[in-house]
Chain length 295, copies 2
DNA sequence: AAACTGCCATTAGGAAAGCTACTGCCATGA
DNA sequence: TCATGGCAGTAGCTTTCCTAATGGCAGTTT
């Protein structure tokens, strides 16, 4: 009953109408075949075949049983073929370039899930600054990279987004602004400013430049976002940071969105002119099916 | 791979996400479960589950495989239930009443086929004269009987038909009649006649009476059809017999259909007021699905 | 830290399943 | 009557496979 080989026998007998020939079809002795059949019939408590003089033909009960046996064996065949087809993505390596923030926020759950689904594929993550990603991609030094605001037609898959937020000391006059109102970039650049870059080329200064403005009163320029928050708390000035960098504890800080809203869109992208490997396709496919809940 | 118990393990692990619990669900040791899983994965050459810290979750390849495993087990379940449902018609007895001609022509292939499909059901055939069938049926002494020209609404299943044929010596004047023209009953009853009954109450004499005629010149009256043919060959007279009784060798005889054609319709019928048993339903069902090629 | 817990892999040993080789039986056909 | 084709039954052996016991690993609790 629990041995698929026996069911293969059942089907073979149904096909050939002959236990002996069925036996050699599945590579067994006639004796073994006879026993297998008898065992199944005994376990079911039902006669599946009637042994005629020259032929062994299915009984009325045998007919539907044989059909089900066929589906069982068919499913096994399906397993074999899907596995054979999928063996290509069993092993492999993906080199991934990302800048720090995304590497520590979006990527961990993603890579964890990916590693669960494709345990044989190793993902090597490179931490680089955001403007290096494209260089590494086109040089073929990495297979996939995290891009900021990629072209819509770009080959890849969306990771998530976050918005730039103004961070002010609680006592700052602009701190009364509601989240709905927001603070415009033009207002912000006039304030005493703590410039934080997070090591990214896209930062408050470049955003201002994009809008045709400039920071008028930079009181400090730091690399670590966390340093900026401390300085803002100390009333050195205001700052402008991506939402995701905000600390869990915003005590003493007022966070107001910039208006009009300025978003950063993250995506996993591949080199534009290269065919991605099976492994990379698996990664992008997984991301497309199960978008991250973050962002 | 060929052990369904192992596939049950695979599904159980997929369901519980835990080898240990899966093991106890299918009634095994954790060790056995682990080995079974490992064996399948090794045989397929593919990892189906990734052993996380707390959970054992399917890989990307594992997911479709598990689905197929489910259909395998589902098919096995179907086998179990169809067999359970069909066990009622495994054993049983059918008492069948038939008159000789049908018993030796229509019934043998039918019963042979039935015995192949339902080896456990014993068919006891009673040979009786045609007018006894209904008596036995309503007395409950038989389960099913062969009826001649049954009412259309009668519960049962058609067996076949044959036509009454005039049989003449080759030298007889009417022997020139083509098969298309035929011979009318009125013409026939005027000839010197060999009356054959085959033990049936429906015979040439009763047919003539039904048509408001009578046999005018009966030269012999025999029970066996074969006797009648011999007498016709000897030029004693003509006769009227069912088509099916004709011998294989019609040398010296001319066989012409009666016009208008008179048919006998055979059917397997059950007692009108009783619910047929499962076994009888099986017999009628088989007959309905595979009508006999005869007639 | 250290002990604990939940979960899995591994090993050895033994029981049972299952296959093979062989024999015998039965029906059919030459 | 013998030869043939087809199946069932038996003994014995191989292989599979399950259990029991042990150890390792990663969190968790004390």
């Amino acid at each position: 009953m629990m041995n698929l080989m026996h069911w293969r026998m059942v089907v073979a007998v149904a096909d050939t109408g002959n236990i002996t020939r069925a036996a050699e079809r599945v590579g067994m002795t006639q004796s073994g075949a006879s026993q297998a059949l008898a065992l199944i019939e005994e376990t079911l408590g039902v006669q599946l075949f009637s042994r005629e003089n020259r032929q062994t033909l299915p009984t009325a009960i045998g007919l539907p049983v044989i059909e089900q046996a066929r589906t069982m064996l068919g499913a096994l065949e399906n397993i074999r073929s899907t596995v054979d087809a999928a063996k290509g993505i069993q092993r492999g390596t993906i080199r991934l370039a990302s800048f720090p923030l995304v590497l520590t926020t979006f990527l961990p759950p993603l890579l964890r899930q990916f590693n669960r689904l494709y345990p044989g594929i190793q993902v090597v993550a490179l931490e680089v600054s955001d403007d290096e990603v494209e260089t590494l991609l086109s040089a073929g030094l990495v297979d996939v990279g995290v891009a900021l605001n990629p072209a819509p037609a770009r080959n890849g898959c969306r990771l998530g987004r976050d918005a730039w937020m103004a961070v002010l000391p609680g006592s700052h006059p602009l701190a009364r602004r509601s989240s709905e109102e927001g603070i415009s970039l033009a207002e912000l650049v006039e304030q005493p400013f703590v410039l934080a870059t997070g090591g990214c080329s896209t930062n408050a200064r470049s955003l201002a430049a994009d809008a045709g403005l400039q920071l008028l009163d930079v009181r400090a320029e730091v690399r670590e976002w966390s340093s900026a928050f401390t300085l803002v708390r100390e009333n050195i000035g205001v700052t402008l940071v991506p939402e995701m960098t905000l600390p869990a504890n915003c005590q003493g800080l007022r966070v107001v969105p910039v208006t009009p809203r300025i978003d950063r869109e993250f995506a996993l992208v591949v080199a534009p002119d290269k065919e991605p490997t099976v492994a990379v396709r698996a990664l992008l496919g997984m991301l497309a099916e199960h978008p991250l809940s973050v962002g």
